[in-house]
């Protein structure tokens, strides 16, 4: 079991470095299906993993290539603290089944967003901001 967990972490980390994401999108379903955890437990554990600065190694690679906007990163982090508090409040009282359905729908939605970005196309920034506030 610990070996499986360590390998799982490695896979999640690889995705993190490769795609600039937290890795939780893969960790949560993996904990639910491979480790037979409850959806809430998997999500709480995933959030716990993301507390230490585990992405520092990955970030260094991007920084050396000049691909980091520090100012935007700081603003982004500020927004996240607030949002994560709200999200946690919403998720905890939800039923496991409902949460799992939401989670799955969210994954499919993010998949579509990722796919769209694969076509390089610049959006007009003004219209963009309005949508972003929803």
């Amino acid at each position: 079991m610990p070996i499986v967990v360590l390998l799982l972490g490695l896979v999640a980390g690889l995705l993190m470095g490769l795609l600039g994401i937290g890795g939780g999108v893969v960790l949560v379903p993996a904990m639910v299906h491979l480790l037979k955890m409850d959806q809430h437990l998997a999500q709480g554990t995933s959030l716990f993993i993301l507390l230490p600065p585990i992405g520092l190694g990955a970030l260094r690679q991007y920084w050396r290539a000049g691909n980091v906007d520090w100012r935007a990163g700081v603003f982004c982090a500020a927004g996240m603290i607030l949002g994560a508090w709200l999200g946690g409040k919403l998720a905890v009282p939800m039923s496991t089944k409902l949460l799992q359905i939401f989670f799955g729908t969210f994954l499919m939605f993010s998949a579509l967003l990722l796919w769209m970005k694969a076509q390089p196309k610049a959006e007009p920034a003004g219209a963009a901001l309005k949508e972003g506030s929803v």
Binding site: P2, L6, G9, A12, G13, L14, M16, G17, L18, L19, G20, I21, G23, G24, M37, H40, L41, Q43, G44, L47, F48, I49, L50, P52, P53, Q61, A65, N67, V68, D69, A72, G73, V74, F75, C76, A77, G79, M80, L82, G83, L86, G87, G88, K89, L90, K97, Q100, I101, F103, G104, M108, S110, A111, L113, L114, K117, A118, A128, L129, G132
Partner: protein, 128 residues
């Protein structure tokens, strides 16, 4: 261009969206922030990914972890075991990202995510 106040406000909103997703689904939030920075704010893919990683460094999910922890929804042991793998994998992934055509990687990952999501919904509906 990225130094204007509206850009800061836009990034802040992207952060809120990422944070809600993070707390609600127990994830980092980068999955949603990276595409949003690219699609809405015009960041290049690599820049969006690097910037998302900055936002993942501070413990932004602390309030969400406390909420989950109080309800007994955190497995501390599994969490601790996952951390070293994620850290090392992150370095390897960051290195790879510089060499691999990003568009192809993203499409493969998008397809994988979609399948995972469909599986989650299906298994919840079937009542497993």
């Amino acid at each position: 261009m990225s130094r204007q106040p509206w850009m800061d406000a836009g990034v802040l909103l992207v952060g809120v969206a990422g944070g809600v997703a993070s707390g609600l689904f127990g994830i980092g939030g980068g999955t949603i922030m990276v595409p949003l920075m690219g699609l809405l704010l015009g960041f290049s893919q690599h820049r969006a990914q690097g910037t998302s990683l900055v936002a993942l460094i501070p413990p932004t999910g602390i309030l969400a972890v406390l909420a989950y922890g109080k309800a007994g929804y955190v497995d501390w042991r599994v969490g601790l075991l996952l951390i070293p793998g994620v850290f090392l994998g992150g370095i390897a992934g960051g290195n790879l990202a510089k060499r691999i055509p990003a568009a192809m990687m993203r499409r493969i990952f998008a397809a994988l995510l979609f399948a995972l999501g469909a599986w989650q919904v299906a298994s919840a509906v079937r009542g497993s």
